[in-house]
Amino acid sequence: MLVDGERIAACLALAVQYAERDITTIEGVGQPGSPHPLQEAFVREDGFQCGFCTSGQICSALGMLAEHRTGMPSVVTPHLADDDIALTDAEIKERMSGNLCRCGAYDGIVGAIRSVADHEVAR
């Protein structure tokens, strides 16, 4: 889930620690009838099979894209001191490694995130 826009693992969060904070779960992403562009991309790119991990994948990806926009490097970033870090597939995979998909929809998940990231860059 997202706390003030930053992704965390809800399963290890004591709710009392996050009082007064702005919490976003998948229910707060998009609206019925008008999904978020990333939700549309997950449908278009086959980003899921059973759907169990999808809410976490989408919230995590939104947090991940926000981190990337602030210039956050990853362990596969070639030069950590660089200002502009290209969001390659290798970067997306590394940054999304905290979200497991037991169906193995990873290629579709990476494709969905890439299409939204590319769109953001083009804008």
């Binding site: 965390i8 995590s60 991940m64 981190e67 602030t70 490097p73 490694s97």
Partner: protein, 329 residues
């Protein structure tokens, strides 16, 4: 999970009072809450220290860095000064856990995280860390992930931190406060080898709280690298890891820092290897000889013996990288 009390510390004095009264400090909770759920940690009271003003990363006069104890791992990894001056630290942080967990985990909590030896959380098995005097199930049991350095007949659990390995190579100093005052502990003296008392994991007194970590200036750290070898490429603990910084002039090693993870019961400074390297030609032969010197005291068990060769190769590969292509910045 045992019922527990929760207080949010209003200020540092309040936090120190709560800790002195027996409360356990709570940072991001990524390790403590997990172990509470597993009924391994059973605190009566938690004192949340994440509202305290310990969240800064500040440059010190003279070029060092002061890092507040509750700075999140991700925020420290993203810090511009860390990335350019101490890239090995940024890399080690980014090699740990996942994006979500790095946004939660604090620097102080990372230093105090407990081993991932599976027997720590297995209530059906013996573990001298969980139940002092019960024995060590890992020695005769599943121990592929355990340590080969710093072990005792009472515990062979590996220290899990990546961040601490880089900090140790950088000569970090830990600032600790209590109602009795402030003291500064070289990071190499914070963690205790298991010896006869594996459950006593640090040299902190029960009333002490980590408030900051300081890094001295280190020109050599600009050319540094963290190499982590693991079973899967991401979101996994280290089988072995190496934090290294290297300066070579006219083909000779003129400065070097080396620390190891995944292979020891504490973050492990490779002093023997550093002695071999300093002043020697920066060659593959030297790198291998230095690595071998560090591992002479290693004690292998059937399923973790592979780590001894693996870490030597990783030391050599990391130094070779720094001597040829350069560091992570």
């Amino acid at each position: 999970m045992k019922a527990f009390g929760y207080v949010s510390a209003p200020d540092l004095a309040g936090a120190l009072e709560a800790v002195a009264a027996g409360a356990r400090p709570l940072g991001g909770g990524t390790n403590l809450v997990d172990l509470m759920r597993a009924d391994v940690e059973r605190p009566d009271t938690l004192v949340d220290i994440t509202s305290l003003p310990l969240t800064g990363v500040e440059e010190l006069a003279g070029g060092g860095l002061r890092i507040g104890a509750t700075v999140r791992n991700s925020h420290l990894a993203a810090d511009r000064l860390v990335r350019s001056r101490y890239p090995v630290l940024a890399q080690a942080l980014l090699a740990g856990a996942s994006g979500q967990l790095r946004n939660m985990a604090t620097v102080g909590g990372n230093l105090l995280q407990r081993t991932r030896c599976p027997y720590l959380r297995d209530h059906a098995a013996a573990c001298n860390k969980r139940e002092p005097g019960s024995g060590c199930a890992a020695i005769e049991g599943v121990h592929r992930g355990t340590a080969v350095l710093g072990t005792s007949e009472h515990c062979i659990a590996a220290h899990p931190s990546d961040m601490a390995v880089a900090l140790l190579a950088l000569d970090a100093v830990v600032e600790v406060q209590s109602l009795r005052g402030t003291r500064r502990i070289p990071l190499g003296e914070l963690h205790r080898a298991p010896g006869e008392a594996p459950h006593v994991e640090t040299t902190l007194a029960t009333d002490e709280l980590i408030t900051a970590v300081e890094l001295p200036p280190a020109a050599v750290a600009r050319n540094s690298w963290y190499r982590k070898v693991r079973d899967r490429a991401s979101f996994a603990f280290a089988l072995v890891s190496v934090a290294a910084a290297l300066a070579v002039r006219d083909g000779e090693v003129v400065d070097v820092r080396l620390a190891l993870g995944g292979v020891a019961t504490t973050p492990w400074r490779a002093r023997e290897a550093e002695r071999v390297l300093l002043g020697a030609p920066a060659t593959e032969e030297t790198f291998r000889r230095a690595a071998a010197a560090e591992l002479t005291s290693a004690v292998a068990r059937p399923d973790n013996a592979f780590k001894i060769e693996m870490v030597q190769r990783t030391i050599a590969a990391t130094l070779r990288r720094l001597a040829t292509e350069g560091g992570a910045a």
